[in-house]
Amino acid sequence: MGVIEIKNLTKNYGKARGIVNVNLTVEEGEVFGFIGPNGAGKSTTIRTLLGLIHPTTGTATIFGKSCRVAPEVRKDVGYLPSEVFYYDRMRVMDLLMYSASFYKKDCKRRIYELAEVMDLDLTKKIDNLSFGNKKKVGIVQGLLHEPKLIILDEPTSGLDPLMQQRFFDLIDQENKKGATVFFSSHILGEVQRLCHRVAFIKDGAIIQLEKVSTLQENNYKRIKLQARGPVTNELFKFEGVADLKVANNTATFIFKGNINPMMRTLATLDLENVSIVEPDLEEIFMQYYSKES
């Protein structure tokens, strides 16, 4: 049984599209990436999973239970929303203790540890915190009860690169301790770094689900070449070429498929320079999307 199981999940917002027939299983101990542009349905999926919104049809369960039917399953869940808002008049420590009071265990030591790592001042009023610092409160708040499932919705916005690094280290540590992580983002670099598997969502539907290693290792090459003579579009008109840009003597594109015919084509050219590299997920992703739309 998966930690998260989403089956045929559909959510309609009146006439507007929410999500359509989403199916996902996240296994225990996995770091699962959920990728898509803004408005694709990432938050809708997560909010349905957490019981914040009702599915139109289908089910979304955590540890085998729906949050709507059994709200207590959320005791093992830590959630960091994309935008964090807390009770403005409270002090950071009071808010964190209030949060801890829902979990029936002593979280004080963990709060201090996390605040230390994230460099968060516990005595300040929430009202006086910058966006980035509020985000840190959110991170500590989401992790203080050592949840078995961590759900992150666009977690890094507002954090400076140093804090992003510390945050990823924290998530990595929690994962090594056994926590399952479900991570939504539109920044692919993040996902590439952390996740084992990744699902792409677009216009409310999952369009691809793959292992990050598969995505990176096998399929895709970013090819960039510079020839001594002019290069034409026709030369690269075969299956698997995407994002083709030809200008004068140079051409760049992403290639997916059997590399041999491609190499034979390249060999017919009088080349000045060529580079064949692993594209990052972002490029693969962009290519996939431009093909779809």
Partner: protein
């Protein structure tokens, strides 16, 4: 318990302000009571020059205006209005503030049911309203004892003031029930004042129509001060309708809030 304590904390300041304001308002009126008694004839004359409907709307009864209870009926009308506004604001804001202040994503993903959240918030509001009423009642009693000319019935005084709590329960329930139908209630003040003042004015308009069934239209006419003073009891049918309104309002709030979709802030 943690949610209940948190909500009490959040209502503390408002409750202090409301209580002080209500006591101050009553104090102001009690302060001029001795003058009214001294110049009873002149005062009655002035009130007599008002149309009967205005007098009825203000809760004034010429017959016993100079008795402590008769005079207090005027104060009661104002205090009841304040108390109803307070209760309505608590009702409309206590659940809706989580969406308004965007803290729903914090509270509603905790391992507690929506019903438990409604219960904690309802109980906290109720506690604060009862506290307001108890403190107000004691202060009003002391003030009345200080300025009274002749003895008055403390029992009647209690019975009359208890209806302030009944009115508050009604408006708390109405406020809650209204608030759960909004995806995000941006500002609770216009709707709270609008509904309470609307019922108040409606009550004033039908005040002259004695015991007709029109009285059912406004909670402000459910508890008639003159009747309570004269009979030392309530009119049963209006207690029933009050109970029904509270039950329906609260029940509706649990059901609708339990099923509500909580959308993201952006």
């Amino acid at each position: 318990m943690n949610m209940y304590r948190h909500e009490l904390q959040s209502l503390r300041k408002a409750t202090v302000i409301w209580t002080v304001a209500m006591i101050a308002l009553a104090g102001l009126y009690f302060g001029i009571y001795s003058t009214v008694v001294k110049d009873a004839a002149g005062f009655t004359q002035i009130l007599n020059s008002y149309p009967a409907s205005v007098r009825a709307a203000l809760g004034v009864s010429i017959a016993n205006i100079t008795s402590m209870m008769g005079y207090y009926a005027i104060i009661y009308t104002l205090i009841a209005l304040c108390a109803a506004i307070q209760a309505m604001i608590y009702g409309t804001s206590i659940l809706s503030k989580e969406s308004r202040e965007r803290t729903a994503d914090f509270l509603l993903v905790k391992p507690v049911s929506r019903s438990a959240i409604v219960s904690a918030k309802l109980l906290a509001s109720l506690s604060m309203l009862v506290l307001t009423d108890v403190v107000y009642f004691l202060a009003a009693l002391v003030l009345a004892e200080l300025v009274k000319g002749a003895a008055f019935s403390v029992e009647g005084f209690l019975l009359l003031n208890l209806t302030i709590l009944f009115l508050q329960l009604i408006f708390l329930a109405i406020g809650l029930a209204i608030s759960v139908f909004f995806a995000r209630l941006k500002n609770v003040l216009p709707i709270s004042l609008g509904v309470v003042l609307g019922f108040y004015i409606l009550g004033a308009l039908i005040a002259t129509g004695d015991n007709g069934s029109a009285r059912y239209l406004s909670p402000f006419r459910y508890f008639d001060a003159q009747y309570i003073i004269a009979h030392s009891s309530y009119e049963l049918s209006y207690l029933w309708i009050s109970t029904a309104i509270v039950a329906v309002g609260v029940g509706l709030s649990y059901i609708v809030y339990g099923r509500k979709d909580v959308h993201s802030v952006s």
